[in-house]
């Protein structure tokens, strides 16, 4: 599995971390999510800087290769939900800023009860250029 560097999809996702738990809302799909434990820690690290599984895994103690595999799987699940996107941007070093903890089971809790709001009637974002192009 390729180790892609990811960044948070700032355009579509709003998120807050409260008392060790992250709540994420994808404003284009209407789905919302919660992350706790190590999953929340990874999200907080991504809020600081784009990162790949290798660099994120370094923030946790234990069998590094196993942790990298777990983190890669978790990042893919975030990516599939369009919560994060591949990023070429420079990433800051995460190790100094983060005290290592043991990796807990990485779970992305997904809630779809608001999804129908977005599916019923699509509302397109329009820029100054119109949608999708400006009329001459």
């Amino acid at each position: 599995m390729k180790d892609t560097q990811f960044a948070i999809n700032e355009a579509d996702v709003v998120a807050e971390v409260i008392d060790g738990e992250a709540i994420l809302i994808n404003m284009t799909t209407g789905c919302y999510y919660s992350l706790d434990g190590s999953a929340c820690e990874i999200w907080k690290l991504l809020q600081m800087s784009p990162a790949n599984a290798q660099s994120l895994a370094s923030s946790f103690s234990g069998d590094h290769e196993h942790i990298v595999t777990e983190v890669k799987t978790f990042l893919n699940s975030l990516s599939e939900e369009n919560l994060i996107q591949p990023s070429e941007n420079h990433s800051n070093s995460l190790n100094e800023a983060h005290e290592r903890s043991q990796l807990s089971h990485l779970v992305l809790n997904k809630y779809t009860d608001m999804e129908n709001l977005m599916l019923m009637d699509p509302i397109h974002d329009v820029s100054d250029e119109g949608w999708p192009t400006r009329q001459n």
Partner: protein, 289 residues
């Protein structure tokens, strides 16, 4: 169109005013001109670039236009006689959201009631019992503030204000509220819609500091109980609803931050509704009076 706003005081109360023009193509015979850009055909679109905000809602055959610098807004409708009940119960919702968000006020998806100790914000998913709980204030010593949408001034002094004087309840529960029959204006096939001004004018309030946020849920128990709720659980019950239902006109990231700080500034509770409706009223009156 203005019935749900009729409970607000008339006349100028402060320096913040918005001139709202209601443009009905049917009665004026004047159609909105085409914009000089390609737009989605027969689908909704949304524009928000600082000064100007616009939102087209084809399923309502209407569009709204706001100039945040000149404080002018236009509500354009193909035919005001065909306005649906949802629009009538929450008129110009996105104009309020887009204009008031710049004045540190946010439109929240919540019900609200008021007593001597302040206001209760009732949050929860559709069908959780928020609306029916708010309606119970109309037969109690409490005051009705909101059913679906209200205005919140975030922390450090969290306050809730009434926006609309409308309410609704599932059609199957209509007979449980005989005292509200005079306020019925119609139904949308699923819910009965009420307009409480002027029929219940004396029971309508305008706003109050928030004493607590209560997440509402139904139980099979006879009695109603109030138990503590963590801030994160309150955020989960409130934020997605507000951000997704009122997603136009405001900065979602700022709204979420404001909701989180507000939730942390007040008491968060779980209102577990019992089947004894009189006991629900008693519990809320004891809490707020």
């Amino acid at each position: 169109m203005l019935s749900a706003l009729a409970h607000h005081p008339q006349g100028k109360c402060c320096d913040h005013t918005l001139d709202l023009y209601i443009w009905d193509k049917h009665t004026t015979g004047i159609e909105m001109p085409d914009l000089p850009m390609d737009l989605p055909f027969n689908e909704g679109w949304h524009y928000d670039q600082g000064r100007y905000f616009a939102l087209a809602l084809p399923f309502q055959n209407s569009s709204i236009w706001l100039d945040r610098v000149n404080n002018d807004a236009i509500y354009y409708s193909e035919n005001l006689e065909n306005i649906n009940l949802a629009e009538l119960s929450a008129p110009f919702l996105f104009i309020w959201s887009a204009w008031l968000s710049k004045r540190n006020l946010l439109v929240a998806h919540a019900a609200a009631l008021q007593g001597r100790r302040g206001a209760l914000l009732l949050i929860g998913a559709g069908g959780s019992g928020k609306s029916s709980t708010a309606l119970k204030s109309l037969r109690s010593n409490l005051t009705y503030l909101a059913d679906d949408y209200c205005l919140i001034k975030p922390a450090p002094e969290p306050t809730v204000f009434s926006l609309f004087s409308s309410g609704k309840v599932f059609i199957k529960d209509r007979d449980l509220y005989p005292e509200l029959e005079s306020a019925v204006v119609g139904d949308n096939g699923e819910k009965v819609i009420y307009q409480f001004s002027p029929t219940h004018r004396q029971k309508l309030g305008f706003g109050s500091p928030i004493t607590a946020i209560m997440a509402v849920s139904r139980t099979a128990s006879n009695t109603t109980a109030i138990v503590p709720l963590s801030p994160i659980a309150s955020v989960k019950r409130m934020a997605p609803n507000t951000l997704l239902q009122v997603r136009y006109g405001s900065d979602s990231k700022k709204v979420l931050k404001a909701l989180v700080t507000t939730i942390h500034a007040v008491q968060c509770l779980d209102l577990r509704l019992g089947t004894d409706r009189d006991h629900v009223i008693q519990v809320l009156e004891n809490f707020l009076q």
